[in-house]
């Protein structure tokens, strides 16, 4: 078994009004890009905060980088980008970064060197203007995000945790973030990010864990997850005989669920249904078939299928 960067076992966290996480276990292999997926209020942020020992679990154990997560000094090896971004507004950029780096155990001199490097790399320090000397609130939103990003990585952490990293990013910064994640992986670092945007996860993650209502719905490598859910999905393209086709697609013996994109359908077959029967019925209905393919579902499909509307608890987006 591969070495684990994070190993969560039977962790639970209850609040007064609701259960944020119940009996969650998940394993993040070292050197992987790991997606923590789930609707708002699923318990993603709570899980992340427990890994970082910001809040304590009621029960269960968490191991980070082969040590209990409460080990002193372990936090210095983790970089964290919270969903709600924030920095000291009235403070100089360089001083904020120096402060946060020192808290992660980087010496002042080394931190100063790295900060200058990062500012240049993120084009915050150019020959015309060095934003490092500006105060945080003089920076544009995009620039503040870059600074926050530097703060997450300046101490060269082995484990990087990004909570909803893409929210609020413009396309250029989003691309920069993706590039950085790829580079981190190449350097053997582990990246965990939470998101509810499945496209990003599908493209970037090696493994994912989908959680809903504080419970794990499924986990594993993306390829594995898709394979497990493959063969039951049909990509269908057809023209004509709309009414008759509608009747066929509404037959519960054949079709569990239809994602109707007008001229293109993504169909999840009913349990025990034979795709050949579906094809024959559609031809009999008089439609002209342009495409009929057994496919592996997208993460998005799997997510909708497994979590569904029921998985989204309402009014609980407080912790993202």
């Amino acid at each position: 078994m591969a070495k684990l960067a994070v190993d969560i076992r039977n962790v639970a966290k209850r609040y007064e009004q609701h259960v944020a996480v119940r009996d969650l276990s998940l394993q993040v292999p070292v050197g992987s890009v790991y997606g923590l997926l789930g609707p708002n209020g699923a318990g993603k942020t709570t899980t992340i905060r427990m890994i970082l020992d910001i809040i304590a679990p009621d029960s269960g154990t968490i191991t980070v980088l082969d040590q209990p997560h409460r080990t002193p000094g372990i936090l210095s090896r983790i970089g964290y980008l919270p969903e709600e971004r924030g920095l000291y507004k009235k403070m100089q950029v360089k001083r904020v970064l120096l402060f946060l780096a020192e808290l992660k155990g980087v010496s002042g001199k080394e931190a100063t060197r790295r900060i200058d490097e990062w500012l240049e790399r993120m084009s915050l320090a150019t020959p015309e203007k060095n934003w490092g000397d500006a105060k945080i609130d003089e920076l544009s939103r995009g620039m503040q995000q870059k600074v926050q990003f530097i703060a997450t990585l300046v101490h060269d952490p082995d484990l990087v945790i990004l909570d909803e990293p893409f929210s609020g990013l413009d396309p250029i910064n989003a691309q920069a973030l993706k590039d950085t994640v790829v580079e981190l992986k190449r350097r053997g670092k582990t990246v965990i990010f939470s998101t509810h945007v499945m496209d990003n996860a599908e493209r970037m993650c090696d493994s994912v864990c989908i959680i809903a209502k504080g419970e794990k719905v499924l986990d594993g490598s993306v390829a594995e997850v898709r394979k497990q859910h493959g063969g039951r999905n049909v990509a269908l393209g057809l023209v004509g005989a709309e009414e008759a086709v509608g009747v066929v697609l509404r037959d519960p013996r054949l079709v569990q669920r239809v994602d109707d994109n007008n001229r293109f359908f993504e169909i999840e077959l009913a349990p025990m249904a034979d795709p050949q029967v579906l094809l024959r019925r559609l031809i009999d209905a008089g439609a002209s078939i342009e495409r009929f393919e057994l496919v592996q579902p997208s993460l998005h499909q799997i997510f909708i299928q497994r979590v569904g509307a029921a998985g989204v608890e309402t009014g609980m987006s407080g912790h993202g």
Binding site: I54, I78, P82, G86, L87, Y88, R95, L100, L103, K104
Partner: protein, 444 residues
Amino acid sequence: MDKKIFIVAKREYLERVRSRWFIVMTLAVPALLVLAMVIPIMMSLRSSSSPNVRRIRILDATGGGLGNRVAEAIKADSSTRSDTVTGPTVVVATPAELPKLEEDAIRDVMKPKSLIGVLVLTDSTLAGKSARYSGRNASTISDIDKLESAVRQSVMMVRLQGEGVKPQTANELSRLRVRMPAERVGDKGRGGSGTTGIIVGIVFGALLLMSIIVHGQNVMRGVLDEKTTRVAEVVLSSVKPEALLAGKVLGVGAVGLTQIVTWLGLSAYSANFVMPMIFKAVGGGAAAASTAGAISGPGSVFGGMTLGVFAIAIGYFVLGFVFYATLYAAVGSMVNSEQEAQQAGVPVMLLLMSGWIFLNPVLINPNSTLAVVLSWLPWTSPILMPIRMGLTSVSPLSVTGSMICAALGSIAAVWLAARIYRVGMLMYGKKPSLREVAKWIRYA
């Protein structure tokens, strides 16, 4: 101890000390204090040098030359000197002429820019009973004082000479004045003057209270700021909440200490060196210089405060600050906005003011039971004990005991605040009810 506490404290300290607000406050307060002490004295000097008393007419119906003596006494008073007005005019009259002359004089006073007033001297004056004055400056206390003492001196001189006393001696006797500064004596000997002890006590207590309020609320605002800007979550992913709280209180406390030491240093310096210089420059003479000198008695830095009392006062500031600042931090972590913070901070403020409310009885009788009790309670002792120590002698045992009480109080406050803070920092949304906060304390 956790090294991160010092990193947090360092940031707090440097960011605050660098701010313009801090520099202005640190320099402005001693300047204001000095002004508050200098201005009243300067005012009394200034107003007494009003040359108005020279612009009067003296109607002398005594027949004994009293009018001229009064005029001379007024001219001799250096504080009424003037380059443009030569002095009061004297009109000698018989008692019969007096009513008409007085009428005329008053009519002259009513004309703008001429006579200021008219002083009527009669036999009754010479008998030591009464004189009459009517003038535009009748409500200027210093002018009337001047006139009164000039008349009194002159009457005394005339009468003494009438009794056969040599003019030289009569002159000296009539100017006789006894100064009696009241000096306080305690267990350790003499120390400062009685009245200045009270004034310095009030000023000193106010400074301590103000510093605790200002810097305590700075801690609250700092905590609230970290919470609302959400920077708290980033910081808490590196530091335990207890360390963040400790560092913040330590850093802001160091700022307060820097400020207080600067204030006291500058104030002591100005009381001992600058103020006498100012008085000399203003020309207030020996009287003013001795007033300033009285503020800093022999062997003391400032009023009744010796260096030892200063050191203990600073110790109390530290204890009081830790007590109140951590409570304020807890308040800051509970709420979501400045307005809510002001509201939720009221109980802490009431606790703080509970000491100040009893300042007056403590000043009047620093050895009363009330004063003793208040100087033992952890939430009032940091403000009242240093004042009491400036006013009276407190046994070292009581000081030690009261400080231990204050320290225990601080520890309890830290314990309580840390529990609220831990939970509060990550709680957004509705302001928690008291019941919820109690739950945080129990389960944190």
